[in-house]
């Protein structure tokens, strides 16, 4: 792209075509004042502070709306410009309750900055500000507080809510001096369409919109911003923890427009989900079980006990008698250590992490088809996709910032196909919504592919050049006609045809999926079949085109990358490969064990059978997150020795023999790898509570106590050791990712990282077509249990809820469990909206409030699993994927009645 040359204050600069004068100036460190400008929003030219003089043109011009042109000569601080700004600011001050002495925004307020800069007089005009403390849409809300007396009516909050978040919760009501921000009919914020993302707070240039809980805990100028990576979902948003050093406390969370991958946007969890850090429920000292109770202990005593017992059990009963469950909430460094400790100190391949609960089928399935089990494309490529094929994926709630990018694509005219039994936000805005019967995905995909081939919509050249085993695969599809699929999936045949055409013809098309695909007894086959679909149409290995699993936990990508999996070492190097074992044995100074090892779901069964005797579990709560909860607890109780390394007294920790208090993301250094394979820094912001220690230190100390001495001074040393052994991470270092993360594969120090995978060639060579037969779910509705129960996450809470539920703002918005039911079914089972409903399966029974409507299809109900007091996993089925042992959380038979 050719640049445009213009002059700013006599200096010649280069700008990009399509840039505004304001953007060009800001890029060159010329700070033109701007109250209503935000790079993410359509400019409005409302505040008139960005006025500039343009040589040869009369009057002053708003630089935020004027595009650059070659040869323009712009003066940004001429006397006329300065006088106009001073006047505008004095008018603004007259409508403003100037209260900088008690304002949280002091030091971070543009009005204050500009008033100082242009020496605007507070009292040149009589003050006509709205009186303080008038009730408004935020009264009583625990997240936000709006103060109309400090509002400069720049509309930034209204616009970001409408243009970027697409929540449309806010408007500007009335006119002129009376105008103020409001929700429709002044509804309380939580009753509006607000998603509590707090984007409006961040967008506000003054102290008119603030985080209510942060009030009085520090002015903007008292706070230090620590850039880090969000601890919730796999999007990996970059955020600034605003820390008050004197209080050793995170006061609020902000982000910066322009940052990768989230462009300054955060969702409710990232914004408000940090109260848990200072929760009084945090574990602060090691605990040792004595009979029925747990007593406090010193680190020395606890570590010695753990080391001795693990060693004894391993020596007496062999490598299969102990297992480690690593944590995808923790850093790469800690996951690397966890598998190293399991293998070197424990002598076992019994190491797993939570991917078994969610995306193990992606890792296994995509590796089998393409040779690499990760998202093929980048978040930044989403906006250029032509056709989005979104299946079993509720991105606007589970991965909200990826959801924002999808919304951006839609605004640019992309087509959207959503396959989901629920009417999610995306489904409501889709060109085609296929609301199929849960668990029938493979029938649908097979029928689509059959139709694509029959109608010559596939890409024979791509198949011939890049793939193998096409003939057998094609033969299998013949059984799957559109009409039969329509019957099995419970949808109209025409919808399937149109979806097939739309996907095949889109250029580029891209597939997105999450746990609606993986959490089935055929999870891995589902994933492989999506790989089939992409290869068939040649929709992979290109920019904005591929197969994209959105990873759940903040570091589940990293946890897998680091080899916290029984069968692979870091970088998916196979344990079974002797050369690989030799390399690691040399680096680590011990032989790499060769026992087969298992997954967390195996560990639980083996605890039951007595094969497994000692279990080391950190940053995970299988007693809450695994299906058929009562049974899981009974199995864990049989263990001889259970160690939990935790920040809270989780349901699993309650059963432990030793509990080691550890740290959360805000209390340590390290890295997370997000869903687009981007390795990003995690930085320490505050000190841990009490005696709690960083997980990486604890792991080293445990290994040492087990007789395998391990010591590092800083997580950076662990990272460097790992990178030297892991080809896909070899080029990455803390120095290189200080500002922006790098995407693996990044094999060398000068490699720029990889935006999308499989360009020209699949990681495994040729893409492997798989023959996939439809298999129904393990449990199907019958007379006694006539409904299909699916489970999932909501926007507001994260997984087992022990972190997000400690946030006052979030708890106020989404306080309790619920069950979604179709109105026709509700009528049938005698349920009205908000009734307490009893939901029962073959495994258990709980009560939750009924949400009646059209969100789920008839014959199905849906529940989240965040609420310990009404734990949905008492109901779910412990039937597992045949390959990765991931449980079928998305389908089990249930019945419902009024409680």
């Amino acid at each position: 792209m050719t640049t445009i040359k213009l002059t700013l204050n006599g200096r010649e600069v280069e700008a990009q075509p399509g840039q505004t004068i304001l953007q060009a100036a800001l890029d060159h460190n010329i700070d033109i004042p701007h109250l209503c400008h935000d790079p993410r929003l359509v400019p409005t030219g409302a505040c008139r502070l960005c006025l500039v003089e343009i040589k040869g043109q009369s009057g002053l011009h708003t630089s935020c709306t004027r595009l650059v042109e070659p040869g323009l000569a712009v003066e940004t601080e001429s006397p006329a410009v300065r006088a106009s700004r001073k006047n505008t600011l004095e008018l603004l001050l007259s409508e403003h309750r100037v209260a900088c002495t008690t304002c949280d925004a002091d030091g971070g307020c543009l009005l204050q900055d500009y008033a100082y800069r242009y020496q605007a007089a507070e009292s040149r005009f009589p003050n006509v500000a709205t009186p303080e403390g008038r009730p408004n849409y935020t009264s009583g809300n625990k997240g936000l507080e709006y103060d109309p007396s400090k509002c400069v009516r720049c509309h930034r909050c209204v616009r970001i809510c409408a243009e970027v978040v697409c929540a449309e919760a806010l408007t500007m009501k009335q006119r002129a001096l009376k105008s103020e921000v409001a929700t429709a009919f002044d509804l309380p914020l939580n009753d509006s369409t607000c998603e509590l993302c707090g984007q409006c707070i961040d967008a506000c240039p003054t102290g008119a919109l603030v985080a209510r809980a942060a009030k009085g805990l520090g002015r903007a100028k008292d706070l230090e911003k620590v850039r880090t990576t969000c601890t919730y979902c796999g999007v990996g948003c970059q955020m600034d923890l605003n820390v008050n050093r004197k209080l050793n406390r995170i006061v609020r969370v902000t982000s910066e427009p322009g940052c990768i991958p989230n462009d300054g946007n955060l969702c409710v969890k990232g914004r408000f989900g940090f109260d848990f850090v200072t929760s009084p429920e945090r574990l602060t000292t090691p605990l040792i079980r004595e009979g029925d109770r747990l007593r406090e202990a010193s680190w020395d005593e606890a570590l010695a006990l753990v080391g001795r017992r693990l060693r004894e059990i391993r020596d007496t009963h062999g490598p299969d008698s102990l297992a480690f469950l690593s944590s995808c909430r923790c850093t790469n460094e800690e996951n690397y250590l966890a598998q190293k400790v399991a293998r070197c100190a424990g002598g076992t391949n019994n190491i797993d992490q939570c991917a078994t609960t969610c995306h193990a089928p992606s890792v296994a399935g995509l590796a089998a088809v393409f040779g690499s089990g990760a998202m093929t494309n980048s978040i930044g490529e989403i906006k250029n996709i032509q056709t989005l094929f979104v299946i079993g994926c509720n991105a606007t709630e589970a991965h909200p910032i990826v959801g924002l990018e999808m919304k951006k694509a839609l605004r640019r005219g992309a087509k959207l196909i959503v396959v989901d039994p629920r009417k999610t936000w995306l489904a409501q805005h889709a060109d085609l919504h296929i609301q199929h019967r849960p668990g029938t995905d493979n029938f649908l995909i097979n029928a689509m592919m059959n139709y694509i081939i029959e109608n010559n919509l596939h890409d024979p050249a791509f198949i011939a050049d890049r793939c193998e085993q096409f003939d057998a695969y094609r033969e299998n599809l013949k059984e799957y006609s559109i009409d039969r699929a329509a019957e099995v999936c419970g949808i109209s045949p025409d919808l399937i045809r149109r979806a097939a055409e739309m996907y095949a013809k889109g250029t580029p098309s891209s597939i997105f999926y999450t746990l609606g695909i993986t959490e089935h007894t055929c999870g891995t086959e589902n994933v492989q079949n999506l790989g089939n679909l992409a290869m068939l149409c040649g929709q992979i290995g290109k920019e904005s085109s591929g197969v994209n699993p959105l990873r759940g936990q903040n570091n589940v990508q990293g946890g897998c990358d680091m080899g916290a999996i029984h069968s692979v070492l870091p970088g998916y190097q196979k344990v079974a490969d002797e050369a690989v074992r030799k390399k690691f044995a040399q680096a680590w100074g011990v032989e790499i064990p060769t026992n087969k090892g298992g997954r967390v779901t195996d560990f639980i069964e083996q605890a039951d059978s007595g094969l497994l005797r000692a279990f080391y579990c950190f940053g995970e709560d299988p007693a809450m997150s695994e299906p058929n909860q009562d049974h899981v607890v009974a199995c864990l109780k049989k263990l001889e020795f259970l160690v939990c390394q935790e920040i809270f007294m989780s349901e699993t920790a309650k059963l432990a023999h030793v509990i080691l208090p550890s740290t959360c993301f805000a209390e340590k250094d390290g890295t997370f790898s997000n869903t687009e394979r981007r390795v990003q820094r995690v930085r320490k912001a505050v000190d841990p509570p009490g005696l709690a220690r960083p997980d990486w230190q604890i792991l080293c100390q445990v290994a040492t106590a087990m007789g395998y001495p391990l010591h590092y001074n800083h997580p950076g040393e662990i990272f460097d050791e790992m990178a030297a052994l892991t080809p896909s991470y070899a080029g990455i270092s803390y120095a290189r990712i200080d500002q922006v993360g790098l995407q693996w594969p990044c094999p060398a120090k000068d490699h720029p990282g990889t935006r999308y995978l499989h360009e020209g060639r699949f990681t495994r060579g040729r893409g492997l077509f798989h023959v996939i037969k439809f298999r129904p779910p393990a449990e199907n509705p019958d007379r006694d249990y006539p409904l299909i129960l699916s489970t999932g996450r909501t926007l507001y809470h994260y997984n087992i809820g022990n972190m997000t539920r400690k946030s006052g703002a979030i708890d106020q918005k989404e306080p309790a469990n619920f069950v979604e039911i179709n109105s026709a079914d509700a009528a049938k089972f005698g349920l009205a909206a908000d009734d307490n409903a009893r939901i029962t399966t073959r495994r258990g029974s709980i009560v939750a409030a009924a949400r009646v409507g059209e969100r789920v299809r008839q014959g199905t109900i849906w529940m989240p699993f965040h609420f310990v007091e009404s734990s949905t996993n008492l109901l779910t089925n412990d039937a597992f994927d045949n390959i990765t042992r991931t449980a079928e959380y998305k389908c089990c038979a249930a019945r419902i009645e009024k409680a």
Binding site: V158, A162, E168, M172, A182, T193
Partner: protein, 157 residues
Amino acid sequence: MSVSTMAPLEPALKVIADLAPVTEGRIIPLLQKLQEAYGYLPRDVVLEVVRRTGLPASRVFGVATFYSQFRLTPGGRHTVRCCRGTACHVRGSKAVLSAVKSHLAIDDGETTPDLKFSLETVACLGTCFLAPVIMVDNDYFGSMTPGGIKKVLDAYQ
């Protein structure tokens, strides 16, 4: 939202049908037609209309409050219009308006709790020769004084 306390929906449904497709560009005609049908813009009706049309409730509300032609509360049985135009102002309309306000105990744009009177101010009623003027429904009252207000208004049931 409980449907039972809501104004009847049929007129709104007819408005939607007449205007279909109801896009964001047609919020103003939509609100005008609704106000014609209901006399004002009942909250629950508008919320139901936005639910059915998919329009953002916030934006519709913003428009409804921006233009003075729309009212969000039911009007009284009688509308009192006080002129605040120049001619009336010169001849004391400010005191007349104050008297009306205190007599009815409401502010400009409001309605008495018994739904008898609504009060509006207008720029000029076009009868400056009678200044200061007030108007009740379609009747003009000229050369008003603050003391004469009670008699004029008490005549209405």
